[in-house]
């Protein structure tokens, strides 16, 4: 047992969904990757404005 949670059915392999807090709202985004910078961890996704965005990870 690796202990890793399998992807949910229908989700492309390698992509996971996380909830991030944008302003006062929590929104769910499809994550393309993660980047660690200093003490912070960012999740990568394409935001509504079409830009590659790295948002501070909620985890």
């Amino acid at each position: 047992m690796s202990g890793k949670k399998p992807d949910s059915p229908g989700q492309p392999p390698g992509r996971k969904k996380v909830k991030i807090r944008k302003g006062k709202k929590w929104v769910e985004v499809d994550v393309d990757g993660e980047v660690k910078k200093g003490r912070f961890k960012y999740v990568k996704f394409v935001d509504d404005d079409g830009l590659d965005t790295y948002w501070i990870s909620p985890e």
Partner: protein
């Protein structure tokens, strides 16, 4: 949040370095030279006269030595020293020297016709104006020496041909997004005042342009940017108006160069010709952005690398801060 110091100086008829300026106006309606101002050095004095029938014009208006108000005011706002919606400013110091037909009243905290900076709402409310308390003023002769106290006032340290001299100095900290230069006219008519006022304050300087500018190699953009939104040798603390404006200017000036803009409202670090791979950890620690957005991915890695190298080089010149235990 980086802070910058601001400095505002106002000349209303008198000048800073004149030793004993004899600036005054005549408000004795019986005098033949009624409405005339004398010894105006820099700027204009103020004259309140609401009766436009008897006095359709005043000599000081005709000869450009005063600004006339034709309505009375309780608290009159002469100028907005700063107004930073959504941002913080800190009033730290002011000095004001006024000549007026009136003077201090009751005690020096209730000054009349003395322009003072005040963090009042707009329109002003009288109760906010006189924030500094004091029980007395000092009788003194000119020149007066700068005292070690947060509020000092001097009444008539030198004499002028007509009216009074009031000097007030204050230092401290008042946090406010808006600061105005106001005068308590107390609805008086037929009064005049002149003055010299200097104000020091601090303000939040971000959003920031993160682009190390080299003035030797790129003089024109350097000069334009410095004039437009400040300059810091760190390459980081370069304040501007708002993030969108900074981005627009940088796109125009540096279309082929790497740069970043930090929006302090949203805590978003915008990257141009950069990806997070090129953003140094110390910059992330300094700004703590909630998000990074890639405006344009680097077509050429050397451009991004050049930005990183220059930023690191500048950062290395800054003395390290003491580490927390």
């Amino acid at each position: 949040m980086p802070l910058s110091t601001g400095y505002a100086t106002y000349f209303y008829g008198t000048f800073a370095i004149t030793r004993s300026p004899n600036t005054y106006c005549v408000n004795n309606t019986s005098a033949s030279d009624y409405g005339k101002c004398y010894n105006i050095e820099t700027g204009k004095a103020y004259f309140v006269q609401t009766d436009t029938t008897t006095y359709p014009t005043l000599p000081c208006v005709s000869d450009n030595t005063c600004t006339r108000f034709t309505s009375v005011a309780n608290i009159r706002t002469l100028s907005t020293i700063f107004s930073y919606p959504g941002k913080q400013g800190i009033l730290q110091y002011f000095f004001t020297r006024s000549h007026s037909s009136y003077g201090f009243e009751y005690n020096i905290a209730v000054a009349k016709l003395v322009p003072v900076p005040s963090p009042v709402p707009d329109p002003p409310v009288a109760s906010y104006v006189f924030f500094a308390s004091s029980i007395n003023y000092e009788l003194s002769s000119w020149p007066v020496y700068d005292p070690v106290a947060n509020w000092k006032a001097y009444f008539n340290p030198y004499t002028i041909s007509a009216g009074n001299v009031s000097i007030a100095r204050w230092q401290g900290s008042i946090f406010t997004p808006n600061l105005y230069l106001v005068v308590r006219e107390d609805n008086l008519n037929n009064v005049w005042y002149a003055g010299f006022i200097t104000v020091m304050y601090s303000y939040e300087s971000s959003p920031l342009a993160v682009v190390p500018l080299d003035h030797d190699k790129e003089w024109l953009p350097y000069q334009e940017l410095r004039n437009a939104f400040g300059y810091a040798y760190t390459g980081v603390d370069q304040p501007g108006w708002n993030a969108d404006d900074i981005i627009r200017v940088l796109r125009e000036l540096f279309p082929d160069r790497a740069w970043a803009v930090f929006d302090d409202r949203q805590y978003v670090l915008y990257l141009y010709n950069l990806t997070p791979d090129y953003v140094p950890d110390w910059l992330i620690e300094k700004l703590s952005p909630t998000a990074m957005k890639v405006l344009k991915a680097p077509a050429d890695a050397t451009v991004a690398k050049a930005w990183l190298d220059l930023l690191n080089e500048r950062n290395a010149q800054i003395p390290p801060q003491a580490e927390l235990p």
